[in-house]
């Protein structure tokens, strides 16, 4: 679970005034989790960087609609996930490279991790995002439900199906 930003209300207000430093504060607070999520949703650090850039542009355009009282991190992640959906839809025809080829910024520590990374990439989008957010990024199921705009039960179902599929993909040969 990501701890809330300090002075979140003030940061939102400053973002609404177009203060780039406020956006930077959000970036510094969430960058690792955002980048990790985008990387696993898109399968590439390069695409993840593009997704982050688009996320902050969309955040800038959408921040006026942000409702105080909601969690800013949930809002930012919701934007990121939409950006990743759009990206995957627009790049359906492209062959996704296996993760081991992104060795500049990420390398799994062992064979088992590599297998899991490859298996995650084979999950359908909804299952993948629920699994990544829950199992890797450590969000609670109700937080994920808010990000996705669905009920918690839906998240639980996706998680169960994701684990079932991963069991099959990672079954000993």
């Amino acid at each position: 679970m990501i701890r809330p930003l300090e002075n979140e209300d003030e940061i939102v207000k400053n973002c609404q005034s177009g203060d780039v430093r406020a956006f930077e504060a959000i970036y510094r607070h969430l960058k690792d989790s955002l980048f990790g999520t985008a990387f696993r949703m898109l399968g590439s650090t390069e695409d993840a960087e593009d997704a982050l850039q688009m996320t902050f542009i969309k955040l800038y355009h959408g921040i006026m609609n942000f409702k105080h009282g909601s969690r800013l991190s949930t809002y930012v992640f919701r934007i990121l996930l939409h950006v990743c959906y759009d990206f995957n839809r627009n790049n359906k025809e492209q062959v996704r490279q296996p993760i081991q080829e992104n060795d500049l910024y990420y390398q799994p520590e062992n064979e088992l991790q590599m297998q899991l990374e490859e298996a995650i990439q084979q999950l359908p989008e909804k299952m993948r995002e629920c699994f990544v957010l829950f199992a890797i990024e450590g969000f609670q199921q109700d937080e994920i439900a808010q990000m996705l705009g669905v009920k918690t039960g839906t998240v639980k179902a996706h998680l169960f199906q994701a684990r079932e599929k991963l069991r099959g993909l990672l079954a000993p040969q």
Partner: protein, 213 residues
Amino acid sequence: MSCDIYENYEAGQVSRATFEEHISVCPECNTKWSRDAQILKLAQSLSRPVNRPELWPQIERGLRNEIASDRKIFKWPVSISKYYRFIRGAAAVLIIAVSITVFLQKGEAIPEKGLISASVLKKVQDRETEYMQAIAELEKVAAHKMTAMDINLMLLYRDKLETIDAQISECREALQQNPVNAHIRRYLFAALRDKKETLEEIMHYKNQQKTDS
């Protein structure tokens, strides 16, 4: 037929106690449960890819371009009282003057309103640098000459220069957020020109006194 107790437990339809009792007697659910726990532990051990330090500057550039292209109305960052303090301190500091002709000498004018293009911005920044260099040279000499001035006159000039410096500082701070805003650029140039002229005036005054004597 496979057992669905595990799925029902995950869906919240079976209590934990009931499930734990079930997996002690159901090999299928026990295997799935154990395997899932292993996969979850493995997933939690995965590290995140490293994001480059250059990523934020890249994102920042994109944001600033969006802000600039939206042509947001510039909000003057200072309070009204500070704004009027600048005007009071120096009659020559005419912030609202529209007679800026700094660029006429070099050919390309800052537009009357709106935003300036990237090519003009470069030229503007080069001119600002030239002004700052000239000012720096003048300051070295003027500072020395001011010490020899009549005290009241020296205080007047010092007050005027401080007011102009504060205006320059506030313009620069505003330009960090909005570098292509033509209004702020004009205010900055007005201030730089005023400072340069004030310093030249200080030097001329000293020379005049020498001539008179």
